[in-house]
Each structure stands twice: as C-alpha cells, then as structure tokens.
C-alpha cells in the first residue's frame, strides 16, 4: 500500500479548486454558487495543511492560516446568505438569470 504524500494531497486540492471554479461559472443558483466558493476555500485549507505538514513543519503558519480561513468563510457566508434572502424577497427567486435589472 502506498502512503499518501504531498503530491497526492496537492492533486486533490487542485482538483477541488477547479471543481469549485467550474461550479461557480456553470451553476445558476446563488446558494450553489456560494457552495462552490466554499469548495475553493477548503481546497486552500488542504493546501496550507499539506504544505505545513510535509514541507515547513518547524513553524505553525499554515495551520493558523487555515483556522482563520474557516472563520472568515463563515462570516462571508453569513453576509452572503443575508443578501441572498433579501434578493429572494424582492425577486421571488434565487436564480441569477432572474436578477437582470442591471445590464449594459
């Protein structure tokens, strides 16, 4: 059996990142778009922890960074959900295609 190394984890986190980006661009539901952003942030967390464990284990910078990212992601999601609820009240929908008042 192969022990998982840095490359395996980096591969997973890069895949998660691009799944998140793909989801952000293709999904039309606002909550799903927000979930895609969370995927991106979690891939970053994985990156930080993997780098910290395998490459720079003498200091804890990466671990701390990922804790702060988790906290900030929660704050960001709270504000985003509040805005989406308000959008739902005015538009009766959370589909981005319905929010089309502002155009060129």
């Amino acid at each position: 059996m192969i022990q998982p190394g840095l490359y395996h984890i980096l591969f997973i986190s890069a895949a998660l990142f691009f799944i998140g980006v793909y989801g952000f661009f293709t999904r039309r539901n606002l909550v799903t778009m927000l979930m895609s952003v969370e995927l991106i942030l979690n891939s970053v967390n994985l990156n930080f922890i993997a780098f910290n464990k395998y490459l720079w284990f003498d200091k804890m910078d990466g671990l701390f960074f990922s804790i702060f990212i988790i906290a900030i992601a929660a704050a960001e999601a709270a504000v985003a959900i509040a805005i989406i609820i308000n959008l739902y009240r005015s538009h009766k929908s959370i589909d981005v295609e319905q929010a089309e008042e502002l155009r060129y």
């Binding site: 606002l30 970053v44 990466g62 960074f65 900030i72 504000v79 005015s90 538009h91 502002l102």
Partner: protein, 465 residues
C-alpha cells in the same frame, strides 16, 4: 504598551467611534439629524487628530507596520470618509438605518487601515476581508430597491470568488517560500514556475478589487445599484486603499519578480484604459458613466505603479488625494440631483446651468479634474503618473496612455456640454442643498484647484515615499 497606543492610534480611535455608535443604536437612539451631526464632529476630530503624535514603528513581531507615508495614507482615507458624511447628508437623514450604515462603513475603514499597515500575509488577508464584506452589506442599503440587492449580490459573490483565488495564490506562495512575512518572502523568491503561478493568482485578486480589465465586469452593476454613498465609498476609499497596498506589495514583497509584474502591468493597464474609455463613451446613465470613467482612471494609476519605487509611490498617493476630491464632488452632485428629481440620465442634465449654477460649476470642475485639464489638480496628478511610468523608458506605453487621455476628454466634455450649452425646454428644477453639503462641495472645489497649485504637497509626499 505606550508604543501600542501611539502606533495603533488611528485604528483605536476608529474602534472607539464604532463602539460608541453601537451603544447609541442599542440604547435609546437619537434623531437622525442630531446623530448625523455627532458623527460628523467625531469624524472631523478623528481626521484632525490623525496628524499628531505619529511615529514610525512595528508591532506584533512585524505583523503591523506604520510609517510617515502610511499615516498620510490613513489621513487621506479619513478625510474621504468625513467628506462622504457631509456630502450625502441628505440621504443619511432620510435613511432609516443610518447608524448601521456608519458602523459598517467605519468597520470597512478599520479593515482598510489594517490592510495598509499589514506586514504579513495573514494580516493582509484578514484585513482585506474586513474591508470588503461590510461594503457588500452597504451596497444593499436601499432595502426596497431591486437594483440594490442585485448589485450587492454581484459584489459579494465576485469578492468571495476573488478572495478564494487570492488565497490559493497565497497558499502556493507559502508552499514555495515557507513563510508568510512580507520581509522574508522576497529573500526566498527565485522566480520558479510555482512562484510565477502563485503570483498570477495573487495579482488577479488585486485586479478584481481594483476592477482592472478583464476583472471589471462587476463594477458598473454594483455602482449603479448601490446607494450613492456606498458607491462613492467603494470607488474612492476602497480603490485608494487597494492601490496603496498594491504599491507596497509589488515594490517590497514581489521585488524579485519585477520583470514579470512590470510586463503584466503594462498589458492590463493598456487594456483597462482602452476598454474603460470605450465603454464610458456609450453610457447614458451618469452612475454607470462614472463607474467606467473610474475604471479608466485605474488604468492610469497602473501606469504610475509601473514606474520606479519612489516616483511611483508618490505619484499614486498624490493622484489618489486629487481623486478623492474630484470623484466625491462628481458623485455628490449626481446624488443631489438624483435624490430630488430622479434624473440619472446625462440627457436630463441639459440646460442645468440656467437653474443650478452652483452645482453645474462644481460638476464642471470635478469633471475637468478627472479629465486632467490644467490648471485643475487632476492635470498634475496625471502628469506625475505618466512621468513616473516614463521613467522605465517604454515610451510607446506612455504614448498610448496619453492618447487615452484625449479619448476620455470627449466623454467628460460631453457632460459639460450638456450642462452648459444645450438648450432644454424644462431643465432640472432649482435644487436646494443642505448647508453642510454645500460647505463640503466648496471644500472639494477648493481642493481640486489648490492641490495642483501648492507644490509643497507633492514635495511632502515625495519626501515620505
């Protein structure tokens, strides 16, 4: 302890004001007029005390840095927020949630102060989020308008996405260098492929925040949808801050990758100027027009940033100072008109000079300054930016920038022509504006004229840079 109090004075003062407002909001509350007056006095005091008892230094093991230049940048931002509280007094008095709006605005300003002072990628990321999340909430403050919530939605999603991209870049930088401190990163950068990739991710997040082409698409929608006070905060204070930190990140942290970022800057700044100008040409709505003109202005700021360190820094700080006065004046005039008559189209402004000479003159001065016509300060701002950019020796780039200034003249003058020369059967009625707003408009106009003529201001900035 003493060091802590003097070095972090701007942040501590702001925190004090935020808590005071929170307690007032939780407690009995006050009438909007009295509370607005209190806030204005507090912000004025905050701005004035910013000039005293400053000294350079660093705190928390280099996480928090301050210097003469950083204090000056914070003072410029303080001034801009004080002016916003005066210029949009009319809107604030009518707003049902004025204390919350100021709490959010000052919280964002606090984040921007920490952002300018940050000496560490963790601090940088935290303060950048503190500086953007409240702004998205501010954009939603016209609660019953569909446009406002749509603009806020676009802002929060694009800023969350861009911070995700930036974080991915930061994690790669951490992986490549093993440190997140601004002083240690340049020692570890050698220009490997991973570092270049990380830098491009990092750069694109800055491009989102500064609305550099091709990441500019959210700008016009957010500007049009938000209440005018939030728009002006976003376009002046937020952009100014990101430009300031962009300077120190590029010149200090990514100095080893200088060739890379110079070429990137040249390409995106040409694209930003050209596309911002071309879209501004066809706008009819005054807010969208100002949004695209501000995109074009960012292109010129990038020309300045591409120059050498000292000239680049001083010209950008000087330009932001001028930009505060001219852009805030333009937004305030547009807001005064839109709030009284609902007129937001440029065609509605025809013949305005007959009925509102004061507002027309202020608007004309502001637009002249944005276009860069002498003797307004905007001319000197653009001149210094282009000179700083020319110091690298790529004259073709500077010629393209200068040609873009000529294109921008067309659309700025189109508004002025509508205001002063075109005839209209029923122009906008006579608008009475608040005394405090009038005072601030006079102050802005004086700033637009005088900052360019008083040469010691630029010398002072250059001595700090």
């Amino acid at each position: 302890m003493n060091d802590f109090l003097t070095l972090m004075k701007p942040e501590l003062a702001l925190t004090g004001i935020i808590f005071l407002l929170l307690f007032i909001k939780i407690g009995k509350g006050m009438g909007n007029e009295r509370l607005l007056l209190l806030i204005q006095v507090l912000l004025l005091l905050n701005f004035l005390t910013g000039f005293f008892f400053n000294k350079p230094g660093s705190l928390f093991d280099g996480m928090y840095l301050t210097s003469g230049l950083i204090v000056l940048q914070k003072n410029i931002l303080n001034l801009a927020v004080y002016l916003i509280s005066l210029l949009f007094a009319n809107w604030f008095k009518k707003s049902q949630h004025m204390p919350e709006f100021f709490i959010l605005m000052l919280a964002a300003l606090l984040g921007m102060f920490f952002l300018i002072s940050s000496g560490n990628l963790l601090m940088f990321f935290l303060s950048l989020e503190l500086a953007t999340i409240p702004v998205a909430a501010m954009a939603n403050f016209d609660l019953d308008k569909k446009r406002s919530s749509e603009g806020a939605m676009k802002m929060i999603l694009s800023s969350a996405f861009s911070s995700g991209i930036m974080l991915f870049g930061i994690s790669l930088i951490y992986g490549a260098t093993g440190t997140i401190s601004f002083t240690e990163i340049p020692l570890q950068l050698h220009g490997s492929t991973l570092e270049v990739l990380a830098f491009i991710f990092f750069f694109s997040a800055f491009a989102f925040k500064l609305s550099i082409v091709p990441f500019h698409l959210w700008t016009a929608d957010v500007y049009e949808g938000s209440p005018m006070a939030a728009t002006s905060f976003l376009s002046v204070v937020s952009k100014g801050t990101v430009a300031f930190i962009f300077l120190s990140v590029l010149y200090k942290v990514f100095l080893p990758l200088q060739m890379l970022w110079y070429n990137l800057l040249v390409i995106v700044s040409i694209a930003t100027m050209v596309i911002g100008n071309l879209f501004a040409l066809r706008q009819q709505n005054i807010k969208r027009f100002l949004a695209f003109s501000s995109i074009a202005q960012v292109g010129f700021i990038l020309v300045g940033i591409s120059g050498s360190s000292i000239q680049g820094t001083s010209s950008v700080v000087f330009f932001i100072l001028v930009y505060v006065f001219s852009n805030l004046a333009a937004f305030a005039v547009a807001d005064a008109i839109a709030s009284k008559t609902d007129a937001e189209e440029i065609d509605d402004y025809r013949g305005m000079y007959k009925t509102n000479p004061f507002l027309s003159w202020v608007l004309a001065l502001a637009l002249f300054s944005l276009a860069g016509i002498p003797p307004t300060a905007g001319f000197f701002g653009k001149l210094f930016l282009l000179t700083a950019g020319a110091s690298k020796g790529s004259y073709l780039f500077i010629i393209i920038a200068a040609l873009n200034m000529i294109i921008s003249l067309y659309y700025y003058l189109r508004v002025i022509r509508a205001v002063f020369m075109e005839k209209n059967e029923n122009p906008i009625e006579k608008i009475t504006i608040e005394p405090s707003t009038k005072l601030a408009l006079v102050f802005c106009s004086a700033g637009i004229v005088l900052i360019g003529l008083l040469s010691w201001i630029y010398d002072y900035i250059e001595s700090l840079a």
